[in-house]
Structures are given as C-alpha cells and as structure tokens.
Symmetry: C2
Subunit: 142 residues, 2 copies
C-alpha cells in the first residue's frame, strides 16, 4: 500500500526546489537533474501544476518554471488530490447486511473516519512547512 505515487512525490520535491529558489525561473531540466527525476515525466507533472496555477512558466532560453502560489498555502493534500484524486473507499457497492445501506454501513463509516484523518494530516503539511523543517535540520546538523 502506497500513500504517495511518484508524480505526487516528484511534484512535492520540485515545489520544494522552486520554493528555495523563489523569484527565479528554474528549467524542468535543471530540477530533474538536481533531484534525479525523469525529465519528461517531470515536465508532464509541471504542466499539471501550471494548470492549477501553482507554478507559472516562461518559454525560451532562460525560461522555466516559477512558483506563483504561496508555499505556505500549498498543502500536501492538494498535491495528492491533483495526482491521485480524492481519497476514496474501494468503491464499495451496496451489498447485503454490511452495506445494505451506504449511509449506515459500519465498515464504510470507519474507513471514512480514517480517510478524513489522513486528509487532515496531509492538510496540515505545506510546502513551506517542509522547507522550514529542512532548513532547520541543516542548521541543527552542523
């Protein structure tokens, strides 16, 4: 069981990179090299983030990607939603007894509760939060 898929994972790392170099345009190529991600894959990921107005892009030499959203407001759960969709029950069909009634189904109710918990936790994590923790760690580690 995986909580994060690669595209989510790469997106987060790229966003961290872009947060560290805010105001600059970083090319997909340079991010891919730095973070050792597959270049074309990263490109498709960044195109998604552009659609969602999280980053903007500039074409041509010296072009690249730039963060436009506030990293303090980019929640990890948002990124998960973009690349993995909503956290959802294993689309359980209405069966007898246990699932007689979706509204009252016990199993469903419990899973929903845990899902909310996960969403909530990933909602508390932001790109900026991660960056902060990284820099703290770097200082502390010296």
């Amino acid at each position: 069981m995986k909580l994060l898929t690669k595209n989510t994972d790469y997106a987060i790392r790229a966003l961290i990179e872009l947060t560290v170099h805010k105001e600059e345009y970083l090319s997909a190529r340079s991010i891919a090299n730095k973070q050792k991600m597959p270049f074309q894959f990263l490109r498709s990921i960044m195109q998604e983030l552009i659609k969602y107005k999280i980053v903007s892009s500039k074409e041509g030499v010296k072009g690249g990607l730039k963060l436009i959203a506030d990293p303090a407001k980019i929640k990890i759960v948002d990124i998960i939603r973009i690349f993995q969709g909503e956290i959802e029950l294993s689309d359980c069909m209405f069966q007898q007894k246990i699932c007689e009634n979706r509204k009252t189904c016990v199993l469903r109710k419990e899973i929903k509760r845990i899902e909310k918990l996960v969403e909530n936790e990933f909602g508390k994590l932001t790109v900026k939060g991660l960056v902060k923790k990284i820099s703290k760690q770097e200082k502390g580690g010296k």
Copy 2:
C-alpha cells in the same frame, strides 16, 4: 487514492459473515451469493486466509469455511497487510537535498508519521468490533 482494495474488502465482509455464523461451516459459494462477491475471487481470498490460520476449511459436501481465529483479535490492519502489504512510502529513492539521507529526510519523516497513524487506526478496528457495531445499529434502527 484507495485505502482498501477489493480483496481486503471482500475478506473483511467474509470474516464478518463467518463471525456471525461462528462454529458453522459456510461454503465460499454461499458467502459469495450473500455478499454478492465474485465466487472464484472469493475462493482465492479465502485460501489466503487459510494460509494465515484465520479460517479453516473442510472439503466435501457440507464442507466450507469456518473461523478459527478469535474475531476480537483479527485486526483490520492484519487483513490489509495480507492483501496489500505493508503501508509504505512511494519507495522514495535517496535523492539530493530532500532525500540526501533517508534517516533525516523531512518528507519521509512526515509521511512515515502519517502512515503510522493509519496503521494504528486500522489496528484498533477488529472484525468483532465491526460485528458489534453492526448489531448495535440493527437494534437501534428498529
């Protein structure tokens, strides 16, 4: 994003069924009919549960499956582990900066924390617990 896959889901429902009819042998066919699950799929699922000594089987007419584990001790997380493996990071490779060091990687640390939380929650849920909730609900609903 799905927290439970079908095999886990079916396994749980079957176990609930077996708990309700404890001491009896229920055939895979009858469980599949009752819960509207694909018969052969359920059979392969039950074979797994037999391997793990959660249910036992009897061959021949009047044979079938019977619960042998204590339903109060069958945690939902155990079933998840059997069919979906351990909850794991999107096997993140050791990258620069963010993942320079797996031990100290911030992203990893946060995800691990949430994973533990999920595991813990699914560890608190047991088959018996679900059955209890169902019967409460049925009484209350009258």
